[in-house]
């Protein structure tokens, strides 16, 4: 989402989380009753409980009566219900609250949940990741930052458009030529294509994008130093010799620091949301009522 309301969440979030954490194991939190469907699964129940707690917290902080978006929305509702009313906004809002409209309106509910979740995920300064933490994150979550394996290979191409009916025969001749080439780079052989090089380094996914699945499979196979082919693509026939394969790797932090930081911050927000939610869950006394 936009980063709107940040100042608002910042203040509200700090209050919210501090309160939630301080309550843990010291005092009993509020008691709520959560109604669920008779056939609700455990996951359904847990989701309903989580939402009920967040909505209750939002109401405890009176966001349902002080949030400007909720305020505007309820007034709009009232003007729809009472189109002839001459009351001012404040009076209409008060009447909406007296009608408990904020407890049932889906937009108010979504707004309160959104605001509560943002508050739960607020990252205070002391949770901002240090360089050491980022390095640890990079190391332990290497799969997220891993760069695809690369293959250095030689490549000779015969164009279907150019050669037409002689393509197969030309391919047989080319195979013979290549077998006699030894370790030399196949410069001067085959047909040109934009971007085609006699020797290049590429990832298998890049080869797949450029030439299709068959060529990608060939460069992925662990066969080094042997001419393979002809392999067919939409363009014609290809001969490939893999010279070297570099395994997938994780770059150093000084190279991908911004990427690691963004990933870790996302994770911290998730952790904080879960920690604070768990604290709330622990403090709350929840009664589950299944619908008959």
């Amino acid at each position: 989402m936009l980063r709107p309301l940040i100042h608002f969440f910042l203040i509200g979030g700090l209050l919210f989380s501090a309160k939630a954490v301080s309550q843990r194991s010291r005092i009993e939190g509020p008691a709520i009753t959560v109604r669920v469907a008779a056939d609700a699964t455990d996951a359904n129940v847990e989701a309903a409980v989580g939402e009920a707690i967040l909505l209750n917290e939002a109401r405890r902080y009176r966001w349902d009566q002080t949030d400007p978006i909720v305020y505007t929305h309820l007034i709009r509702n009232m003007r729809f219900i009472e189109p002839d009313s001459t009351d001012d906004d404040r009076a209409l809002f008060q009447r909406a609250v007296e009608m408990n409209m904020q407890a049932h309106d889906p937009v108010v509910r979504a707004r309160l949940l959104y605001r509560a979740r943002e508050a739960l995920a607020f990252v205070p300064d002391d949770r901002m990741p240090s360089s050491a933490e980022l390095e640890e994150h990079r190391r332990t979550h290497g799969d997220r930052f891993e760069r695809e394996k690369r293959v250095r290979f030689q490549h000779v191409f015969l164009s279907r458009s150019k050669r037409g009916e002689t393509l197969s025969a030309d391919a047989r001749d080319m195979r013979k030529q290549l077998s006699e080439l030894g370790d030399s780079v196949p410069s001067g052989l085959g047909d040109p294509l934009p971007g085609l090089r006699p020797e290049q380094s590429a990832t298998p996914s890049g080869v797949r994008q450029d030439y299709g699945q068959e060529l990608a499979e060939i460069v992925e196979e662990p066969v080094i130093g042997t001419w393979r082919g002809p392999v067919s693509s939409v363009y014609g026939l290809h001969f490939i010799k893999v010279i070297a394969a570099e395994p997938a790797y994780v770059p150093a932090l000084d190279i991908i620091g911004a990427e690691v930081r963004a990933d870790r911050l996302g994770e911290i927000r998730k952790e904080l949301r879960e920690e604070r939610m768990a604290s709330l869950r622990e403090a709350y006394r929840v009664q589950i009522e299944r619908a008959p």
């Binding site: 709107p4 309301l5 929305h73 047909d191 990427e259 963004a262």
Partner: protein, 683 residues
């Protein structure tokens, strides 16, 4: 313009935030050429999109886009994102994914309302309670009526249509526009920071992101928009938009003074787009003050704007049918009016040839002859201009609509018909020939114009020009090495002519491996003959009459084409005393346009459809359904002005109404346009 106040904000932002400059303590700023594993001195093709809007753009935001910068980067790298419309509980109803990742991307949210959106969404902002913000938020309500949303959009976004002397931030921005300036700077910091996080600085070089934004001047509805693209993490502190600098010269002066001349690291260029919707004024022969172009002006424009967007979802800007030369391929995705404003006007003005590149190229040569520099010596790019954070979503058979100028698809239920108005299209891609997929290499390729644009498919095209190429160059396995050594690539200028020879051009192209076979390669030559400019189109490879077609009921391709083509061509009418340019156009076999794809896939019945009901839906600004969209033989422009026009016999209508009966073509020929190679006679 409260410049002192702005400077104070800049200083404050720098002092308190690292975001303002896009810096990160863990980010290396070294980005020298040659750091990537696939470095190639002869250059490789990389695919990108340099025109992308997210929720940060006011128009996109008003249409329900809730996807962020991060979402746009994820999408570009191949991840699936969610799209509007959203259900009442906020869950999305549509998803989108690109078929192949892009190599590079620049997000280009409209600068003018970056701060406005933040102010209106931040209850702690002093502008939050301004009436415009209240209206904006009301328009965000799930139950907001389409007409109300449109009104709010027009009232705020319409500020971009004011003339330069009246350009001003919305009143909600407070005294001296302070609220929006401060908020805008903060949002810009986030944009730069997101670009930094997305950039692959490892030697894999899998993805390149550029910081950027769109300057969106639109005086009197005339589109003068430009995207601003920064080379690296060193950017200006504030994204100057139309309200800050209401003409392009002011923008360039800012960029020059605060970036290019400010230090050795910062570099920036601007990319014009949608000259087709400028009412023919994009390439005017006068400066903002009304005076004739000066040498200083043309040099600055030449330096700041090396490339132009030839095609995007709001149409192509190459050429107009019937204008200047007989070129039957100029009808590709032409928006049938001269500016977006006429969509709401009583009279639709026809497209103006002066808003198209053919005109600019001709005028540019004329200015070069008199002033010594060509102000319109543009290389070619193309883009989507997506307003749903979906860079590179160009597939005709998977068009989700790009929002922005399209239907208000934030409303539920999702429209059962087309996701965008008929005359819009998915847009295209930019390709660059660069040594590696990294900022330095790609930005340099854009600067030297070694670029081409496509209407979507990734057909790789290489073009070189020289004086002494062998006639069998197309068969040479080392074509590129030979051509590069003895000539110039696309975007270049031919060197001095050796005695009595004519320039030779070689164009090599390969089809998109997942798309349609190629049909042919053309070279478009333009030249200055005295004070007049001329254009001629030459077929140099392939077969224009190959009989390829497409089944309109199934979109199945019929007939043969070419997987790769190469042509070598020497100008038969070369006059060494005449300025000239040459660009290649590569065409695929015909395929279904997105509208045809949607109709082929939809269940609709035209045997007894209710035309009046469709008209009524349009009159009430309600989305059409497939029956309306696919059955009406003159679905046309879908403009309010056109709703009551009877298209039974368009030939009998006045011109303004006749254009309402414009029909989109059921098939298209996807294409690539290379940057030109120019020839300048000895002075």
């Amino acid at each position: 313009m409260p410049r002192n106040l702005l400077r104070a904000f800049c200083a404050l932002a720098i002092a308190v935030s690292s975001l303002g400059c896009g810096k990160d303590e863990n980010t290396s700023t070294t980005d020298e050429l040659g750091r990537c594993a696939d470095f190639d001195p002869l250059r490789q093709v990389y695919w990108g999109d340099t025109h992308i809007h997210t929720e940060l753009s006011f128009d996109a935001n008003m249409q329900g886009t809730r996807t962020s910068s991060d979402d746009a980067y994820k999408f570009a790298r191949g991840e699936t994102i969610s799209l509007q419309p959203y259900n009442e509980d906020g869950t999305p109803t549509r998803m989108a994914a690109i078929d192949r990742p892009l190599d590079f991307v620049m997000l280009s949210d409209h600068a003018e309302f970056l701060g406005t959106l933040k102010v209106c969404n931040d209850p702690s902002s002093p502008g939050y309670d301004a009436q415009q913000c209240i209206d904006y938020r009301a328009a965000q309500e799930f139950s907001a009526a389409p007409g109300f949303v449109t009104d709010v959009f027009v009232r705020i976004n319409g500020l971009l249509n004011r003339r330069p002397e009246d350009a001003a931030y919305p009143a909600l921005c407070g005294p001296g526009d302070a609220y929006c300036l401060e908020a805008g700077m903060d949002v810009w910091g986030g944009i730069v920071s997101a670009a930094e996080s997305a950039y692959d600085r490892s030697d894999s070089c899998s993805f390149t992101s550029f910081s950027g934004y769109e300057w969106s001047g639109n005086p009197d509805g005339r589109n003068l928009h430009r995207n601003v693209m920064f080379k690296n993490e060193r950017v200006i502190d504030f994204p100057y938009g139309y309200f800050d600098e209401p003409d392009a010269e002011g923008l360039w002066a800012r960029l020059l003074g605060e970036c290019i001349d400010a230090n050795d690291v910062c570099d920036v260029l601007t990319i014009p787009h949608n000259s087709n919707l400028s009412d023919g004024v994009y390439f005017e022969d006068k400066m903002a003050n009304g005076e004739p172009l000066t040498r200083e002006y043309v040099e600055l424009r030449n330096a700041m704007e090396p490339v132009i967007e030839i095609y995007q979802h709001k149409g192509a800007s190459e050429c107009l049918p019937g204008a200047a030369t007989a070129d039957e391929l100029c009808g590709f995705e032409v928006i049938p009016f001269s500016n977006l404003g006429t969509a709401f006007a009583e009279r639709i003005t026809p497209p103006d040839p002066k808003g198209f590149l053919r005109y600019a190229y001709g005028e540019g040569m004329r200015f070069e002859a008199s002033l010594g520099t060509n102000p319109f010596q543009y290389g070619i790019t193309a883009a989507t201009d997506t307003h749903i954070s979906a860079p590179g979503l160009v597939a005709e058979d998977d068009f989700k609509g790009h929002g922005g100028a399209g239907q208000p698809n934030r409303f539920l239920p999702p429209p059962p018909g087309f996701p965008d108005v008929e005359y819009l299209s998915p847009g295209g891609l930019t390709a660059v020939w660069a040594e590696e997929n990294a900022r330095e290499a790609i930005f340099s390729a854009l600067r030297r114009k070694e670029t081409f644009g496509t209407s979507g498919p990734r057909m790789a095209v290489r073009m070189f020009g020289g004086w002494d190429y062998p006639s069998d160059l197309c068969s040479a396995p080392d074509l590129v090495a030979q051509a590069d050594a003895a000539g110039v690539p696309m975007g270049g200028t031919l060197g001095p002519q050796p005695a009595s020879s004519a320039p030779i051009f070689v164009v090599s192209a390969m089809q998109d491996s997942t798309s349609v076979p190629l049909q042919r390669i053309q070279i478009v030559k333009g030249w200055l003959d005295g004070d007049d400019y001329q254009v001629q189109v030459f077929e140099i490879a392939g077969d224009a009459n190959n009989g390829a077609s497409v089944d309109l009921d199934t979109c199945e391709l019929q007939g043969e084409g070419f997987s790769d083509l190469c042509g070598i061509w020497q100008d038969p009418d070369f006059d060494p005393g005449q300025r000239a340019y040459y660009y290649a156009r590569v065409l695929e076999n015909p395929s279904c346009r997105w509208t045809t794809w949607q109709c082929a896939a939809a269940a609709y019945d035209c045997t007894d459809w209710d035309y009046a009901a469709c008209v009524e839906r349009k009159q009430n600004r309600l989305p059409s359904d497939y029956t309306c969209d696919c059955c009406d033989p003159a679905a046309g422009l879908n403009l309010p002005f056109c709703v009551d026009v009877d298209c039974t016999d368009p030939g009998l209508l006045p011109d303004a109404q006749e254009r309402c009966c414009h029909q989109v073509e059921p098939t298209i020929q996807e294409r690539a346009w290379t940057s030109p190679i120019w020839y300048q006679p000895p002075s």
